[in-house]
């Protein structure tokens, strides 16, 4: 009998610890997936709790967290305060990253070519069709550009990267705003669609005379020819960690209700013009409060110790002042 009791007790202990170490579940943005999985690995080593994150796309992530099949969702397109209130969500920014235009032209090296917002919009609208167009030549007097048709590559799938890119084009071009607008998937006037950041980088890497847009890490890893951009201040900037930092330094998170802030076309002489943020969504009054608290512990760990890991992967960690704000949001909004 004693023996039996011991077995039952051991079983109970095992069950309760395994319940404690239940995986934190999340779904959504593919943009944040690389850094999130790195944080998850480190967190598992430290706390023993795993994070099960499915990078199925922002839209699908929102749906999953609405259906309460996962504890948190991640999206590159922030929800407005109205939408947040409707679903009873808390929202906060988790990490930021740069989006860069990439080209493939014979003789043009990374950072050689300069583009401004208006020209980029015209290329994607199909009004500029050749690489030796006067507008491009004016920005790049030193480059010898071929008289070849520009082959435009965009995302075929709905994507937060597309949302931020088209949001930028809408801000700098009235034409773009009225004809196309900004969303995770838009009605592209020209070009071919490729699936995912990797699809776009594959296309631009392979085919000559193409232009596309990808998250910076993809451009770097695939050694693609990124362009410099003229920013809001009229200065030419190259996509570097410093330029991304400069863009987010001026962001006024404190006065953005629900942290609804899109970081494209930010002011500042050194700011890179197209920066995307991934937001985390969670139920304020979730049905499984223990799971919510476990998830918050993970996010706190990511903010406290994950900054270096994010920088290694070319993301921009949230500044300390913003993290303080976010932690206040947690304690005031998410019920434990």
């Amino acid at each position: 009998m004693k023996f039996l009791k011991a077995i039952v007790a051991a079983g109970l202990v095992a069950a309760s610890t395994s319940a404690f170490a239940a995986d934190i579940t999340g779904a959504g943005s593919t943009f944040i997936f690389p850094v999130l999985s790195k944080w998850a690995d480190a967190y598992k080593k430290e706390s023993g709790a795993g994070v099960n994150y499915q990078s199925i796309g922002s839209g699908a992530g929102i749906k999953q967290v609405q259906a309460k099949t996962v504890t948190f969702g991640a999206t590159d397109k922030p929800l407005t305060v109205d939408q947040l209130d409707k679903d009873g969500f808390a929202q906060w920014p988790m990490a930021m990253g740069g989006i860069v235009p990439v080209v493939n032209i014979d003789g043009v090296k990374a950072g050689d070519m300069v583009l401004d917002g208006d020209t980029l919009a015209k290329i994607y609208l199909g009004t500029i069709t050749k690489w030796d167009d006067a507008a491009i030549k004016k920005l790049n007097p030193k480059l010898s550009l071929p008289s070849e048709a520009i082959s435009v590559v965009h995302r075929a799938d709905g994507s937060g990267t597309t949302f931020n890119f088209t949001d930028y084009l809408s801000k700098v071009s009235a034409d773009w705003k009225s004809k196309v607008g900004s969303d995770t998937a838009v009605e592209w006037p020209v070009g071919v669609g490729a699936k995912g950041n990797e699809g776009v980088s594959g296309n631009v890497g392979q085919a000559k005379n193409t232009i596309g847009y990808v998250e910076y890490a993809y451009a770097k890893q695939n050694k693609l020819t990124y362009t410099a951009m003229v920013n809001k201040g009229g200065k030419t900037v190259e996509p570097t960690a410093d330029a991304f930092q400069a863009a987010v330094a001026n962001a006024d998170w404190a006065n953005a209700p629900g942290y609804y802030l899109i970081l494209t076309n930010q002011p500042g002489d050194k700011s890179w013009p197209i920066v995307a943020t991934t937001f985390v969504l969670m139920h304020k009054d979730g049905s499984d409060k223990a799971a919510s608290q476990e998830a918050l512990k993970f996010f706190k760990f990511a903010f406290d110790k994950g900054g270096k890991m994010a920088e290694d992967l070319d993301y921009i960690p949230m500044p300390e002042s913003v993290v303080k704000l976010i932690e206040k949001t947690w304690s005031s909004e998410i019920k434990s």
């Binding site: 699908a60 749906k63 709905g158 838009v186 009605e187 669609g193 392979q206």
Partner: protein, 332 residues
């Protein structure tokens, strides 16, 4: 010998043999087996019906919103307010790529089958036959990658510029083969599809060609027919039904192929007169947009799926009808 003696001893030791009991056990087994297989067969119908019903339910909002205009509206703007969604682009792309694919695959596939059955030296038959079978076994994503990394550059830098130059200035043809050359186009997708469906056409044709009674062929050769005449007047007429079956099977695959096509067709909803321009197919559109879609957009994608279902159904139904007619004719 010794073994058998031992065995019969055991049988007798087990006592008298209960015949009726054994028979009823057999009957029970038969009945169980009958119902088991019957349930399996009926479950196919249930699954098919379930798929159709859930497709219709999912597609209902889009059907109500767009009606039949969905079929001939070209604009696809999920982010417009309200979203404007039309299926003409994907339908056009599906039909054009499948048509070009069949245009290439039927003659080549039949050519291979004729060579294998009529002309090929015995020692070469197995290698070619196995190669064809392997072609059928390659996963479609591999075709997509090969089409993009290997076939794409060749078509974009060599074949397409040549064709564009060749037909430059000729009305109609110059717009069908219009530039600029591209890695991602309807033609590239059609070519990959042709390679993918080739094994279906060849394998089935080889099988049915083998059913032609040798005496018929020998008689034809005996009266002085050339190989071409034997194939044209004996083999093909004798096996028409089977060949058409194989072609229809291949067409069914071409219409529904997804991954390889999504990779190389360019995923553009605009109609392009040039086959070197980008396009999309029904299945490619669903594959690339479904994950991030919601509301009416998602419903429209499900409606696209339903359309593909109907399209494939009609192709197969037409094939059956044709085969029935041919059989009747042959019977008369």
């Amino acid at each position: 010998m010794a073994d058998m003696a031992v065995q019969s001893d055991v049988m007798e030791a087990a006592g008298p043999y209960d015949r009726a009991k054994a028979l009823s056990a057999f009957r029970l087994g038969d009945v169980t087996f009958y119902w088991l297989t019957r349930v399996c067969a009926v479950s196919v119908l249930l699954i098919l019906g379930g798929i159709i019903i859930s497709l219709i339910i999912g597609a209902w909002p889009a059907m109500m919103e767009y009606g039949f205009a969905f079929l001939w509206t070209q604009r696809w703007a999920p982010s417009a307010d309200p979203p404007v969604l039309g299926a003409l682009g994907p339908i056009y792309g599906t039909l054009v790529t499948s048509f070009i694919a069949m245009l290439i695959a039927i003659p080549v596939g039949l050519g291979i089958a004729i060579f294998l059955t009529e002309l090929c030296p015995q020692w070469l038959r197995r290698p070619i036959g196995i190669a064809i079978e392997l072609l059928a076994g390659i996963p479609s994503i591999i075709y997509g990658m090969w089409g993009f990394f290997v076939l794409g550059p060749f078509l974009a830098y060599t074949f397409q510029p040549f064709m564009i130059g060749l037909f430059d200035g000729i009305p109609v043809l110059s717009s069908i083969f219009g530039g600029p050359p591209s890695y991602l186009s309807l033609f590239n997708a059609a070519l990959i599809l042709a390679i993918m469906v080739l094994p279906f056409i060849t394998a089935i044709s080889v099988d049915v060609f083998k059913t032609v009674p040798p005496v018929l062929k020998e008689a034809a050769y005996g009266v002085g027919c050339t190989t071409w005449e034997v194939v044209r007047n004996v083999v093909i007429p004798y096996t028409r039904v089977g060949v058409i079956g194989g072609v229809m099977l291949a067409l069914g695959r071409a219409l529904g192929e997804t991954m390889a096509v999504t990779f190389i067709i360019g995923n553009s909803f605009r109609l392009s007169a040039s086959i070197f321009g980008p396009g999309t197919t029904i299945s490619a559109a669903i594959a690339s947009e479904f994950a991030e879609s919601d509301g009416l957009h998602q419903s429209a994608l499900i409606l696209l799926g339903l359309l593909l279902f109907v399209l494939t159904f009609f192709v197969l139904a037409a094939a059956r009808l044709m085969l029935m007619r041919l059989e009747k004719k042959a019977g008369n």
